[in-house]
């Protein structure tokens, strides 16, 4: 990357986004517990919304980290977040209703140790490294948990490994047709990993604006939610999956059109089939 990144000036402070993202994500993921309380699966889409809150927070965390000159690419930070986050999330699902909280705590510990290793053992000496890696690990685990809750209706271990397979018209339980057994956890992993680093990577440049990046983060989140909703059709009942699809499509359409408007606002020029403008001296 030969683009210079400056420290954040103005806009909403990072710690506000941190607090808002953490609280919103946890609350929304917990709202999927309403599935258990009401005995339906209609509230699964809250998991996706929780993941989006975490993705928005995550894009800003990556911006915060990279503005201190990390030296290597942006996508690596996303992969680090999810590599550590998936481990914390899977361990936390054993703890029943407390799973999201346990995920946050465990991911914070893992992130802190990884941050210490990067900053001190690997001598990177970036001021916000440890805090950023803690945030990224928490975000990774929350996004994974949100997508898992959206696909299966719950964030506890047993639903993640439960699935049905129909043989000759009969529905039989099968571990192979589940979120973990079928490998859909890998899709959630990659969806989140790319969605978290794309907003900052795509809005990189001297005219970076915070509201445009955050809008793009929401758009990436809703786009991922569309894919997750389609995949959830195999695991939860069709009505709940359709609710998820509709929420995701509406949210995506709104954020995408807003993002295009914001890009139009920020761009130097918005030309259609015009030649390259001539600059003096070139």
């Amino acid at each position: 990357m030969t683009v210079k990144v400056e420290v954040i000036e103005g806009g909403v402070p990072h710690n506000t986004i941190l607090a808002a993202g953490l609280v919103a994500s946890l609350v929304l993921i917990y709202l999927t517990y309403a599935n258990v309380l009401t005995g339906t699966q209609l509230f699964s889409f809250f998991g996706g919304l929780g993941a989006i809150a975490a993705i928005v927070w995550g894009s800003h965390a990556i911006k915060h980290l990279c503005s201190y000159g990390i030296g290597t690419g942006v996508p690596s930070a996303g992969m680090m977040a999810f590599g550590s986050g998936v481990i914390a999330m899977l361990f936390a699902t054993k703890f029943g209703v407390a799973a999201p909280i346990v995920a946050v705590v465990l991911a914070a510990i893992i992130g802190a140790i990884l941050g210490f290793l990067s900053n001190n053992v690997l001598n990177m000496r970036i001021p916000v490294m440890i805090q950023s890696l803690i945030e990224l690990a928490i975000i990774g685990s929350l996004v994974m948990m949100g997508f898992a809750a959206m696909m299966t209706g719950s964030f506890e271990f047993s639903p993640l490994v439960a699935g049905t397979i129909s043989i000759l018209g009969l529905s039989l339980p099968s571990y192979q047709a589940s979120f973990i057994g079928g490998g859909l956890i890998a899709v959630a992993f990659m969806l989140g990993g790319i969605a978290i680093q794309h907003p900052f990577n795509a809005c990189l440049g001297p005219n970076w604006t915070q509201d445009r990046m955050l809008m793009l983060a929401q758009e990436c989140g809703f786009l991922s939610m569309i894919a997750v909703a389609v995949m959830s059709m195999a695991l939860i009942n069709i009505a709940a999956a359709l609710v998820s699809v509709i929420v995701a499509l509406v949210g995506w359409y709104y954020t995408y059109t807003r993002y295009i408007e914001l890009s139009k606002r920020d761009a130097a020029d918005w030309l259609d089939a015009k030649p390259i403008p001539e600059l003096e001296g070139h």
């Binding site: 990390i70 914390a88 290793l117 000496r125 571990y175 057994g181």
Partner: protein, 278 residues
């Protein structure tokens, strides 16, 4: 190795106090796991995961990566990110190793290693092919005057205004070794976790081993990929972006990456094992 005080930018020196703290942390994690699961399959799995992580971290240092300048013929190496190229080779190796899992640990790990090495060998050969026949550019290193393996002189084959280009033979060999170590390390982590899960999941989920096998495979697979990515990103941080191969002076930084990778792998491995142990 000199222990200079806190530096403002990533230096090549090893920070001894932090390194020692890291090693202590590693021993604490190993000790805690031993305390919780006792000697046996699970503890051996943790040791295996640490060794796998070390292999990955060491292997990534061998892979020649030139980054954006390499895409313009300005620097030697492959024009891709180091973490992702290593992950690509390692996962291709993991694919082969997972297939051979039922043939025993040694065969599976070596199969995985050969798979990773094969992918790097073919990729590096095609990189040289494109540079020589597609772009008319010979291979030249910017960091050494003579190739350590073949003895070919480098400076006169370096075009003006560049730092070298292509893949000198030592970089090619480095790439293959990196693929071997990455594929082997990733497969080792996968097999260790697979054995632990095959053993413990039937109990935990009250089901037959054959039924639980897909869960064990997927869990072990996604954990192996997660640990692999964490290790390769940490090593990418150590290399700070680009490296020409084992002959590059940056290669000498590998000891601190080994410490960092050991701790990170131990931590992730401990959590992965505790999922079924607690």
């Amino acid at each position: 190795m000199s222990a200079i005080g806190a530096k403002p930018a990533a230096g090549a020196a090893m920070d001894m106090p932090s390194t020692i703290a890291g090693i202590i942390l590693l021993l604490v994690i190993i000790g805690a796991t031993y305390f919780m699961v006792g000697p046996g399959l699970m503890f051996m799995a943790l040791i295996g995961i640490i060794i796998g992580g070390l292999a990955i971290a060491f292997g990534v240092h061998f892979v020649p990566v030139g980054g954006a300048p390499a895409a313009m013929g300005q620097a030697p190496g492959i024009a891709t990110g180091v973490a992702m190229l290593a992950a690509g080779a390692g996962l291709a190796g993991l694919f082969g190793g997972a297939w051979a899992a039922e043939q025993g640990l040694v065969v599976a790990v070596i199969t995985g290693a050969v798979g990773g090495g094969l992918m790097m060998a073919i990729t590096c050969m095609f990189v040289t092919f494109i540079y020589v026949y597609g772009m008319g550019i010979p291979c030249a290193s910017g960091k050494v005057a003579k190739d350590p393996i073949t003895g070919d002189t480098q400076p006169e084959f370096k075009s003006q205004g560049t730092e070298g280009h292509g893949l000198p033979f030592v970089s090619y060999v480095g790439g293959v070794i990196g693929g071997l170590l990455g594929g082997g390390g990733g497969t080792l982590i996968y097999i260790m976790l697979l054995d632990v899960y095959k053993e413990a999941l039937p109990n935990m989920m009250q089901a037959l081993p054959a039924q639980v096998l897909p869960i064990a495979v997927s869990l072990a697979g996604i954990f192996a990929i997660g640990v692999f990515l964490v290790n390769s990103v940490l090593t990418a941080y150590n290399i700070t972006g680009t490296i020409e191969g084992p002959h590059d002076p940056k290669f000498k930084r590998f000891p601190r990456a080994l410490v960092a990778s050991a701790v990170a792998s131990a931590l992730c491995g401990m959590v992965a094992i505790l999922i079924v142990a607690m």
